[in-house]
């Protein structure tokens, strides 16, 4: 009698677990695309992109419109450019939207992707504490600014994650013929938002893309120091994966996405994003 009771309860416990799992499943599908119930055959597309496009809110603004036009739901995996390109080389996603021109060209050259297109650009700025120990506020030469920071050994937080922003930063150090090292040079190994947070806590300088800066600036105290240098220019490219190399990828969807981003409509939307909220566009469309 007692034994029967025990096993009943164990079965009941298992049943509850399973039920929750199944309910979870159903709920998820239900809410997955709340406004798309009229279109049953919504296809999904996997996009590996940088944290900057996602954290800035640009994708949240663009993707619902693309979904309406092309009937593709884009699943966004936001990582550093290095990891995004790695995912592309492994064939785990359908399309890349990244910003590291050299790495992108190599990606296409090695046959992983095809038909890279320019989409837009934004720019970086060097931000830092109001005290400005390196005395660079208001200057417009990024290379000279980094030289001054290194000379003063003023704290500088680097992304340190092989991302597009990190590569950009390293390129400027290289132009300054400095190999940054030492206690003042902090390699965060994290995304832009985390790096901003860390630089703020440490009252350090850092290199940041304008989109992330504008989106987050009210939460932290760091101020713009150097901006407007062409060395701080940051172009984004969209690259569908090569269907010959990866038969598993949705090349059609990836191309539709690339075409949409570079279409008149997509370009117009990119140029308008942020104007209302921040008083300036976060990304400048530059598709040919």
């Amino acid at each position: 009698m007692m034994r029967f009771k025990k096993s009943t309860w164990i079965v009941a416990l298992l049943a509850i677990f399973m039920m929750t799992a199944i309910i979870g499943c159903g709920q998820q599908e239900e809410s997955a695309a709340p406004d798309q119930s009229a279109q049953p055959e919504l296809k999904t597309l996997k996009l590996a992109t940088t944290t900057s496009t996602d954290d800035s809110g640009l994708l949240d603004y663009l993707l619902p419109e693309f979904q309406k036009d092309a009937n593709y739901q884009v699943e966004v995996i936001a990582v550093g450019t290095g990891q995004a390109i790695e995912m592309g080389e492994a064939g785990d996603v359908d399309v890349l939207l990244v910003h590291s021109r050299a790495a992108e060209d190599q990606f296409v050259e090695e046959g992983y992707g095809v038909d890279r297109r320019d989409v837009m650009y934004n720019d970086f700025l060097i931000i830092g504490p109001a005290e400005d120990p390196a005395g660079i506020k208001g200057t417009t030469d990024a290379v000279a600014a980094l030289k001054a920071i290194a000379e003063k050994q003023a704290a500088f937080v680097s992304r340190g994650d092989d991302s597009g922003t990190h590569k950009k930063e390293l390129a400027i150090w290289e132009k300054a013929t400095i190999e940054p090292a030492g206690e003042w040079y902090i390699e965060a190994g994290q995304g832009m938002g985390d790096t901003f947070m860390m630089a703020n806590e440490k009252k350090a300088y850092t290199l940041i893309d304008r989109a992330t800066y504008l989106a987050l600036k009210d939460k932290y105290q760091l101020e713009p120091m150097v901006e407007g240098d062409t060395a701080l220019f940051n172009p984004y490219g969209v690259i569908p994966l090569n269907p010959d190399k990866f038969p598993n990828v949705d090349y059609e969807g990836a191309t539709a996405f690339a075409e949409w981003l570079t279409s008149e409509k997509g370009q117009k939307m990119i140029g308008e994003y942020g104007v209302e909220e921040f008083g300036q566009a976060l990304f400048i469309p530059d598709a040919k």
Binding site: W9, I10, L13, G24, S31, A32
Partner: protein
């Protein structure tokens, strides 16, 4: 301090408001972690009991390995699963990467050693006379072994709650193999990382409160079932 209070306020508001995205993220967290828990229990309890009761060469070594894996870093488990499931990997053709299934697999990898190890320990602490009594009462070897597992249930329930706590709270593995995709693989812990990264500390705290609340509720259910199931048993009385 202000942020913390704001977070608590926002947390209560978020729970009451039943925002569709928060609900979906919470349910996915539960779905992934409970599925992982059930699968790990199905592997871990029998394996733990068998490795405690059976005599075989390398038993100590095996148990030592299991105990070591109880401390497997989540991000390492995630990386292993990632490398297995990537398109070029051995299981790539199933296209499971960046799906809840991948997250469940990674969490099973984390939870199974915990259930296995703690079950083995619980069974091993039983006295020989439990088995002997069962045999004396006419139980077959198999029935007597089941008796042992039943006698070890408190330890096994502790194993289940520990394993659940581990998987519902981990972020390294699900971030890597799930990809934190909105509406698809975003769970509470990866949302907390995202909100922290984008500077929304109070929302991150609010999500943390939800995480703790559901963890509390699941444990409450387990404890209530435990009580109702075993209310006829003797517990130690301090006199």
């Amino acid at each position: 301090m202000e942020t913390i209070l704001q977070g608590i306020k926002e947390g209560i508001y978020l729970i009451l408001q039943m925002d569709a995205e928060v609900v979906q993220v919470t349910l996915l967290s539960l779905q992934v972690s409970l599925s992982a828990l059930v699968l790990s229990a199905l592997i871990g309890i029998p394996a733990g009991a068998a490795s405690a009761l059976k005599k075989f060469p390398g038993k100590r070594l095996l148990l030592n390995i299991v105990y070591t894996l109880m401390g497997l870093p989540p991000v390492l488990a995630g990386l292993l699963v990632y490398l297995l499931l990537t398109y070029r990997g051995p299981l790539g053709r199933y296209e499971l990467l960046f799906t809840p299934a991948a997250m469940i697999i990674a969490q099973v990898l984390l939870a199974t050693p915990i259930i296995w190890g703690l079950t083995a320990r619980a069974v091993m602490t039983l006295e020989q006379n439990v088995y002997d009594t069962a045999v004396t009462l006419g139980a077959s070897r198999r029935q007597a072994s089941f008796t042992l597992v039943r006698e070890a249930r408190n330890g096994i329930i502790a194993a289940l709650t520990t394993a659940f706590g581990r998987v519902i709270a981990e972020v390294g593995a699900v971030m890597l193999v799930g990809g934190n995709i909105r509406w698809a693989t975003r769970v509470l812990t990866t949302s907390i990382v995202l909100e922290t990264r984008t500077g929304n500390f109070s929302t991150a705290l609010a999500l943390g409160m939800i995480l703790l609340t559901i963890s509390f509720l699941v444990n409450l259910i387990i404890i209530m079932l435990e009580k109702r199931t075993f209310r006829y048993d003797n517990t130690i009385q301090i006199t």
